[in-house]
Amino acid sequence: MSEHMTSHAEAYRSGRALGLQPLKLGMWLFLASEVMFFGGLISAFLHYKVNNPSTEGALLDVPLVGVNTFVLLTSSFTVVLGLSAIRQGDRRGLVRFLAATVLLGVAFLGGQAYEFVSLYGHGVTLNGSLFGSTFFTLTGFHGLHVLIGLIWALSTLYGALRGRYAADRYEGVEVFGLYWHFVDVVWIVLFTIIYLV
C-alpha cells in the first residue's frame, strides 16, 4: 500500500517537474473528448448540408449571429484579462472580469434564444426537417455548453469573492478559462459551417 502511494507521489512530482498540472491535463483530455463529441454533430450537419441542401438556411440571420459571435469572443477576452489580473494578485480585477464574462455569456444565450424563437416562428423546428434537426441539435448542445460554462463562471466568481484565488493560486481560474475558450473555439467553427459557408 505504501509502495503504491510512493509511486503515485513520485509520478505526481515528476509530472509537475515537467511543467504538467494534473488538473489542466485532465481538462485537456476532457476537451479532447469534447472535440469528438462536437465532431460527430458537425459531421452530421455537414453531410446533410452538402447532400440534402435546404432553403431554410436562407432564414438564418447572419448579422445578428455575427454580433453574438463578437459577444462570445469578447467574453474570452475578459476571461484572459481576469486570469492576468489574478496572476498579478489583483483579486478585484478578477472579480470584475469574471462578472463581465457572466454578463456576456448571458447576452450570448439571450441572442441564441431570440434566434431559436424567430426560426420557430418561420416554421423551422427541431423535428420539422433534416435542417431543423441538425441545426437545433448542434447549436442547442453548444448553448448547453455555454450554460454550463456560465454556472462554472458564477462558481469561480463566488470563489474569487471569497478569496479562493491569489497570485500563486489561480489554477481554478485557468482551468475554467480553458473550458470557456474551448466553447468559443467551437462557436468559431459553427459560425463558419452553419452561417457562412
Partner: protein, 94 residues
C-alpha cells in the same frame, strides 16, 4: 483548486491578449462583410474556412496558452482535431 499553480513561464501580457482580441474582431467583421457581399461561393468558401481556422488557432495558441504550456497539452488536443477533420472530410463524400 487550492494546489499552488505551476508557473513555468511569465505568460502573455495584457497587450498580447488585446492585440489578439482586435485581430479576432477584425476577422469576424471581414467574415460578416464577405457574407453580405455578392462574392462567388467558390472564392468565398475557402476564405471563410481559412479565416475560421485562423481565429480558432489564435484562441487556442494565445488564450488557451498552448504557445507557452507543455507540448503534451497541445498533442492531446490536436490529435482528435486531426481525426475530426479526416472524419468530416469522409462524410462529405456523396
Amino acid at each position: 483548486m487550492t494546489t499552488p499553480s505551476v508557473e513555468p513561464h511569465a505568460g502573455p501580457r495584457r497587450l498580447t491578449y488585446a492585440i489578439v482580441f482586435l485581430i479576432l474582431a477584425a476577422l469576424t467583421a471581414i467574415e460578416i462583410a464577405l457574407s453580405m457581399l455578392g462574392v462567388d461561393p467558390a472564392l468565398r468558401t475557402p476564405a471563410f474556412l481559412v479565416l475560421s481556422l485562423a481565429k480558432a488557432t489564435l484562441v487556442a495558441v494565445f488564450y488557451m496558452h498552448l504557445r507557452h504550456d507543455s507540448r503534451l497539452y497541445a498533442f492531446v488536443f490536436i490529435v482528435p482535431v486531426i481525426l475530426f477533420a479526416l472524419f468530416a472530410g469522409v462524410t462529405l463524400i456523396p
